[in-house]
């Protein structure tokens, strides 16, 4: 789990927060509400999920409960991978 979280965090920093400080993102912060990722960026995130974790994200799974924070993402990946 911790490994997944750090993978997610480094992806988010590299691709959406760029040179921001580690403190710029709490694991429970909402990506959309904090303006970290816009809703077109979410699809970029999905591309990465599918490729990195070899999972398939279904259209009905494109909901904030699954994708809108580091923790939610880690949980979602956990569920999809088992």
């Amino acid at each position: 789990m911790n490994q997944t979280i750090s993978k997610i965090r480094s992806f988010i920093f590299e691709n959406f927060l760029f040179d921001a400080d580690e403190s710029a993102l709490g694991n429970n912060d909402s990506f959309l509400e904090q303006g970290i990722i816009d809703s077109t960026g979410i699809l970029e995130l999905v591309d990465w999920l599918e490729e990195t974790f070899t999972i398939k994200v279904l259209d009905e799974e494109l909901i904030p409960e699954n994708l809108d924070s580091v923790t939610k993402l880690a949980d979602f990946i956990g569920k999809k991978s088992c």
């Binding site: 760029f18 990722i37 077109t40 960026g41 699809l43 970029e44 591309d47 809108d68």
Partner: protein
Amino acid sequence: MCGIAGFFNISSDNSPGQNDLERMIYPVAHRGPDGYGFYVGNEAGLAHARLSIIDLEGGWQPIHNEDKSLWVIFNGEIFNYRELRKELEAKGHRFYTNSDTEVIVHLYEENREECLSRLNGQFAIALYDVREKALILARDRMGIRPLFYVQHEGLFYFASEIKSLFAANSSLPREMNLEVLREVFTLWMPGGTETIFKGVHQLEAGHWARISVNKGFVSKEYWDIPFGIGVSGEFHKEADYAEKLRELLIDSVRLRLRADVPVGAYLSGGLDSSTITSLIHHYTDNPLKTFSVTFSDRVYDEQAQQKEMVDFLATDHHVEHCTYEKIGESFPDVIWHTEMPILRTAPAPLYLLSSLVRKNHYKVVLTGEGADEILGGYDIFKEAKIRAFIKKDLTSSIRPMLLKRLYPYLALSPTKSAEFAKIFFNTDASIDDLFYAHMPRWKTTGGTSVFFAEKLKRANVHHVVDKLISRFSHKLVGLDYFSRAQYLEAKLLLGNYLLSSQGDRMAMAHSVEGRFPFLDHRLVEFACTIPPNMKMKVLNEKNILKKAMDNLLPKSIVKRKKQPYMAPDILSFFGGKEPEYLNYYLSPQMVKEAGFFNPRAVEQLLSKCRKKVRQGFRENMAFVGILSTQIVYEKFVKNFRIDMPNRLDNIKIIS
């Protein structure tokens, strides 16, 4: 159509002269390649670069009145000049040319600044009143033609483009305005009359200004888009509105075909340009030459629709085919002309298109801008309508699904997931918020601040909205949210971007004049009386225009879902061969030296772009915005240079 420049001496001991005027007019020679004219008076100097369109032999400027007490230079067209001239001649005025310019001096003799409301046209005017020792500047109602000014050491300088101001006087500071840069990275364009350069302003659309030794600079509005006049219009039925709209459009097109050179038309394949080409075909005897942009990237391409119109009207059609590389390569030149950072590459294909027009020996094109703003075409209006509908019943799980109907044309749509779209579009916001419709866009765009250097982060972000409130609240309060959104789009997107960065500057870069039938003020005034629920009927945009054109266009064009004109952004630089200049403008040293962006963040964005992954709105806007800001910095602040010949060729008049 032309370029103008000049000065007025308010209180300086060193008055500029002919040489200074030549230095000012040369940088805008692309606006008027046919010859120059100058006038130097006691307080003022006027310079003109001419693109001959009306009265090819006699229309050289500056032009004066009977006793030479008024001198005018003018960029643009007065479409109703024949009618005005008749009227003025009946009152005893004598004309020495056949040009539209000359009506201005005589009309000014009659009505002073009030004469502006008699003009149907697109213009930037500078008129020197010798007796009153005053300079009068004016701009057309919608802001089609540009006019910039700056005051420096007791001198007032004005010009069609900012480069002329900087060329006028090397002691003029050339510094970028951080607050305006923040506006661009929030609103997509400056929110007011300030430009990206400190101290340089544009005269606002629908305004005149009087500059005199005694009173300095005084400016006044003479017209504004009359949203909110509180009238629901003279008709009850959609069909009546449609008929009146068609009548006005036909007349507007006819007036805009007045020229002593042939007139062509841009054809995108959408409803607006198809409307104009169809009206030219059906209601005038102008031989129809059309010009289109096509894209190798199919997401942006509208070739099929263009072909349908070309076959329907049998026009003589010409195509500029845009590849990623062509857009990328032309981008630095595009920015030399926009004189402003931009967040989209969309002006670049129009820059290439105007070059094609010129190669075909055409100087004038009709084009469809303005229809979306005044007749309710934009997705942002639709978006606001759906958000308001969801807000009425927040418990409904079906209503948010409507958001999925937005942006069907985008490869990466923000509405693929209704649940995300709900957050994205902030469906909780109150529709009474002054900027209700625009807030989601501004929030997404504001996300680009992740690339800012400390200095730009510190530029007051609250000022962006505060300034809009102080500029617009008295115009917006009391209007419904749909009309508020329309007003703002007309003032900001249309006025400060589409007509300028994407319009005038791209066409004039290749000496081509754009004319805009939808922006005839009679038509704009009429459109403001159409009830919003008729303009966009349920979610059917530009409903009245579609009704008006129903029998004059192929059904598929009328029924087609709106696809806004866009061009590939990041892909234009990385989809094909990467332009070499990226390593120059975006090098860590240059980014650091300019001081606006965080060099490490820019480097990371660059390497992300090189991976060619698909990226969202924010990164696309950020990349184009950062690159264009760096180009503006390099070309206008760091290395501003005009290579001027020793003598100007083609000087026609010195008065």
